[in-house]
Structures are given as C-alpha cells and as structure tokens.
C-alpha cells in the first residue's frame, strides 16, 4: 500500500499541472489562459515543496533538541519564485488589458479572425 501511496503527492501535482495545461491550450479566453498558467505554476511550487519534505522533519528553523529538518533549499527557490511568478502574471494581465483595448475582445478566436481581415 505504501508502495502505491509513496508517489501520491507527485501524482496529484501532475493532475493539477495538466489541469493548468489543458486550460492554456483548450480555452481561447486570454484571462483564463493566464489563470491556467497560474495553476500550472502553483503545481510546480507544490512539487518542489513536496520533494523538500523529510518524513518526521520540521520547518528548517534551527532549535535545540530537534535533529530532523526538512530541506531548506527548495523552500528558498520557491519563495522567490512565487514573488517572481506574480510579477510575470501581472505582466501577462497587463498585456491582456492592452489586447482588449486594441481588439475589443480577449477571445483568441476572434483576435485571429480580426488579424486575417487586416
């Protein structure tokens, strides 16, 4: 049983990642696409933090009497990645706002139609 459940976290992460991926490739709405990327990105965060977990460990803040800590390195990488991720998401959303102003729509299909008419 534990053989099967040992990868549970990773499998759910993959399901979440694919959910985000599906939204990005199947939905023509640009805001929805950005949200899909956001979900994809968060699933990668969960993946890294899951790898960092050590059975029976605790948060990596050194304290007397505790010997097992989770791995601090993925925490550092993801901590900064979250802030950078928001910065890039904001940039993406700003592009969506400008596209709406230029085309009057945020639907990818409609944008293609307008591009072909030009």
């Amino acid at each position: 049983m534990s053989e099967l459940l040992g990868h549970y976290n990773y499998w759910i992460v993959i399901v979440l990642m694919m959910t985000g991926f599906y939204i990005v490739i199947a939905r023509p709405n640009l805001i929805k696409k950005v949200i899909g990327l956001f979900i994809f990105q968060t699933s990668v965060f969960i993946f890294f933090i899951s790898i960092a977990k050590v059975e029976g460990g605790t948060a990596p803040i050194i304290e007397e009497g505790i010997s097992v800590y989770s791995n601090p390195l993925p925490h550092v990488l993801i901590l900064t990645a979250i802030v950078v991720g928001l910065a890039t998401t904001a940039l993406g959303l700003a592009l969506v706002v400008r596209i709406r102003e230029a085309y009057g729509t945020i639907n990818e299909d409609d944008i293609h139609v307008q591009d072909e008419e030009r």
Partner: protein, 320 residues
C-alpha cells in the same frame, strides 16, 4: 494525521482545479483561484515550508486575486464557448500526464530522508549555517547569504516586471479618486479596513525584522506591507492612497531597494571581501553576516513592496 491533512488538501486542490476549468464566469474563476492559492498555502504549512506559506498566502490569495479582479473589470466577465472540440487538447494533456506519471515511478518516495535532494548542499546548509551565519532560520541564511547572487537576480527581475507593467499600462501620477459609489456606504468595510491597516503594517515590520529567527524576511514583509496599502486603497479610493504614498515615491523606492542590495555587495568588495561576502562588513564575521542579511532583506522588502504597489496602481488607474 499530518499525512491525512496533506491528502485532504491535495484532494481539495484537485476539486478546485476542475471547478476552474468548468466555470464560465471569469469573476467566479478568480475567486476559485484565490481559494486554490489559500489551499496551497495551507499545504505548504503541512509540508514544513512556513516561509513559502506566508508568501503564497499574501501573494496568491491576496495580491494576485486583486490584480485578476482588476483585469476582469477592465475587460469582460463572460467566457465564450470555444469553437474547437476539446478532444485534441484532452488527448495531448492525457498523453503528457501519463508520461509524467511514468517518470515519477523512478522517484524516491515522498518524505524519504535518503532522497538525493536532501544530500550534498542541503545537508551542509543545515549543519554549517548555525556556525557560519548564526541565524536560526536556515531559509533566511540560504536566501540572503549562501545564495545571495540568486536573490539579487530575482529582485532585479521583479523590478523589471514593474517597469514592464508601467510601459504597458502607463502611469497616472495624479489619479482621480476612483471609487465605486457602493463602497462609501459600506461602513463596516471601511471601519474594519481602517482598524486593520496599522496592524497589517506592524505585522509586516515584524515579519521583516524577525525573519532571521522565525518565518519571514524581505519578500514576505514586502508583500504584506503592500497588501496593507491595497486594502486601504480598496476601502478609501485610489486617490486617498496615492496621497498617502505617491506613485513617484514608489518609483524611487523600487529602484532604491535594488540599489541597497547591490551596494552591500560592492561595500563588501571595497572592504576586501568578495561580492556579497558579508563577513567582512564587521570585525566579527557573525556580526557581519547579521548586518549584511539585515540590509539586503531591507532592500528586498522595499523593492517588493513598492513593485507590488506600482503594479496595483497601474491596473487600477487604467480606465476603459
């Protein structure tokens, strides 16, 4: 028990993910995304990543949601039905997912203490950090000292993103007092916002300066600081918030934070060390590390807070 909470949270995340795919109202999707972030922040606490959880809660559930709502307000709330059948994307996603799951079979089990990820540097960070850096929070010592180059790069990326948003959305230095008429009547909301505002700022300062000893640091503090001002702007209008902290000031602060960081690096070079080698900053190496970490975390906090506010101002001052 810990495993059970872990599994339940992952299950909830999956349900929220599917709900996001199915929901047509973009405002609803935004709210679900906020829930998704809050759930993942809770999951990070269970997985011992307290610093990451603080960041995700403030960013994902807080600022990202506000930005998405602002975008929906500037564009449209309805999602049109796609013209293509979802069969091909579904097939691609299934195939990719299957390949990835096949890939995990070779991975060490979740929580395995002997996994390769926990050997080598991670091990030495945990052992050497109390002696070399003297800071109990290993995440802070890795972030600010061992991998200081990385963090400088990331702060620069954040700064660049703010410049990008400014270039795309323009900048209104003297914004009109944009305020939905409805919110004026929301007495409870305004009173609570006013009560919370100083508390949030106080908490941000605590997170900033206690980051060496507990969960926290410049990134988290900067974001929490910004959420305080965003809450204020939401309740009292953008104009009022801009009188409190003007846009021009934010632009200078965003650059100043990165400069403080880089200046600490140059200072340690001038004192005979390498770039960002804090131990030369004071007579005692440990005191030097403390001083260096304090200063660069301050730089990070200033830049992150002002960048978040610049982005927020950019979105909210834009009109249809």
């Amino acid at each position: 028990m810990e495993n059970l909470i872990n599994d339940v949270l992952l299950g909830l995340l999956m349900i929220t993910g599917f709900a996001i795919v199915r929901m047509k109202s973009l405002l609803g999707v935004t709210m679900l995304t906020s829930i998704y972030s809050l759930l993942s922040a809770s999951l990070f606490v269970v997985l011992d990543a307290v610093d990451v959880a603080l960041t995700e809660a403030a960013i994902g559930a807080g600022i990202a949601t506000v930005l998405m709502v602002a975008t929906v307000a500037l564009t449209t709330d309805e999602e049109k039905v796609p013209r293509h059948t979802p069969l091909l994307p579904l097939l691609v996603v299934m195939a990719t997912g299957a390949a990835l799951i096949y890939g995990t079979l070779d991975m060490p089990h979740h929580g395995d203490p002997l996994a390769p990820a926990h050997r080598y540097v991670a091990d030495s960070y945990l052992h050497d950090s109390p002696v070399e850096i003297g800071v109990p929070n290993v995440v802070t010592s890795v972030l600010a000292s061992y991998r200081g180059y990385d963090t400088l790069g990331e702060v620069t990326v954040i700064f660049t993103a703010a410049a990008g948003v400014l270039a795309l959305l323009g900048y209104r230095t003297r914004g009109r007092n944009i305020e939905a008429a409805g919110i004026r009547k929301q007495v409870v909301l305004r009173v609570i916002a006013k009560l919370f505002f100083p508390l949030i700022l106080l908490f941000a300062l605590y997170v900033q300066f206690h980051g060496d000893y507990g969960p926290g640091g410049g990134f988290q503090a900067g974001v929490i600081f910004a959420t305080g001002f965003i809450l204020y702007a939401l309740a009292f209008g953008l104009g009022t918030a801009q009188r409190l902290i003007p846009s021009q000031l934010l632009r200078i602060l965003a650059a100043a934070g990165v400069l403080i960081y880089a200046a600490v690096g140059l200072e340690s070079m001038l004192l005979g060390g390498k770039f960002l080698e804090y131990r030369v900053l004071a007579d005692d190496p440990i005191a030097g590390q403390h001083l260096g970490i304090l200063l660069i975390e301050l730089g990070v906090g200033i830049t992150v807070a002002s960048v978040m506010l610049i982005i927020y101002y950019g979105f909210v001052s834009r009109r249809h």
